[in-house]
Each structure stands twice: as C-alpha cells, then as structure tokens.
Subunit: 110 residues, 2 copies
C-alpha cells in the first residue's frame, strides 16, 4: 500500500487540524515536526505537501494565519484553527474511523 506516498491522501488535513487543536497557534515547521515525532518517524511531512495543504486550508477557511517571529528570532507564519476548522476536524475524525473500520472488516474477514 502507498508505495509512493507515505501519507494517505486526505489524512494530512486531519492530522494538521488535530495538531492545531492540541497545540494552539503553531507555524508550519512545528506542525510538521509534531506529526513526525508523534508518528515515531513513520510519517514524514514533506514541505511540498505541507505548505500547499496549509494554503488550501486557508482558502477553505479552516485556519487563519499571521506572520510572527519564532523563539530564535526567525520569521514564521503562525496558524490557528477557526471554528469551521474545528468542525471539519470532527467530520474528518469520524469519517476516518468509519472508513478505516470498514477496510479492517474487509481485510480481517476469514
């Protein structure tokens, strides 16, 4: 499964939303690092996946962004969940469970 892409299409939104729900205001690199660390290095969020995804999420109104500075004085774009984003997270979580559960029924059938 997924030989080319490690991250199943669609699930990146869910993980970013969840990360922001947990961590409050975060910038892109922080989000990517958090996902990578929590997944125990199974999931590597490439920059070419991360930033386009964040742009799309801005357009969809799931997050807002503002420029700021990091602890070590670098410019970074800080993202924050909107109420729509929080709602979307709930949708995605339940969809994920529903679909993964269905797949597991198929692959675990005897």
């Amino acid at each position: 499964m997924l030989p080319r892409d490690e991250i199943p299409p669609g699930t990146l939104y869910m993980m970013i939303l969840k990360t922001l729900a947990r961590g409050g205001e975060m910038h892109g690199f922080e989000i990517a690092n958090s996902i990578q660390r929590l997944s125990e290095d199974v999931l590597r969020v490439e920059e070419g996946s991360l930033y386009p995804a964040l742009q799309r999420m801005l357009v969809k109104g799931w997050v807002t962004a503002k420029w700021g500075t990091t602890g070590d004085n670098r410019r970074a774009r800080y993202y924050r969940l909107t109420p729509a984003g929080r709602k979307q997270l709930e949708i995605e979580l339940s969809q994920f469970e529903r679909v993964i559960g269905a797949i597991q029924r198929v692959i675990e059938a005897t």
Copy 2:
C-alpha cells in the same frame, strides 16, 4: 477526510488482493460485491475504479485473468492471485497497519 473518494487511494489494491486470497478465483463483480458487503456498505467499489485497478494489477503481475462463464451463463473474467500478488498482499497489509497506527498515534495524542 476523503470527501470525494470514499476509498482511500492505495487501499483498493489491498482489498482486492485480500478478497482473492480468501475467495480463490473470482470475477470483478464478485470482488466488488464482496468488498461492499464485508464493509457493510461503507465502501462502494465503482466500476470505474475496479476495472482500471484490475488492469494495473495484471500489468504488475499480481493477478492472472482468464475468461469464463458464470453460474447463470454470462461471460466474465476470472482473476486469480499469483505468488507475487500474495507477496504484495503481505507488504500492503503490514504497510497499512504501520501507517494507520502512526496516524492513530497522531490523532489520539493528548
């Protein structure tokens, strides 16, 4: 998650392989119906997804196909798992568990 496609890209191969591993020789419609039924109607395998996937799997050497007739006298193409397909199934199953486990660690983190 996955608003447009119900079946996460990549997982269809795995489910087809598993279905053939369980059912022996089957034709396309049987495979699709089996997946749909076992998933309790959560996953609907569209014909436009199924047949192209089976073609790709033929090219990859995961399955062989031969024409035959169904119980009610219709022509149908019967698919059978090759040793390479069986190996691929094992790969996909372990990849799936690995990736889904990683995603769950991310979305279940507190």
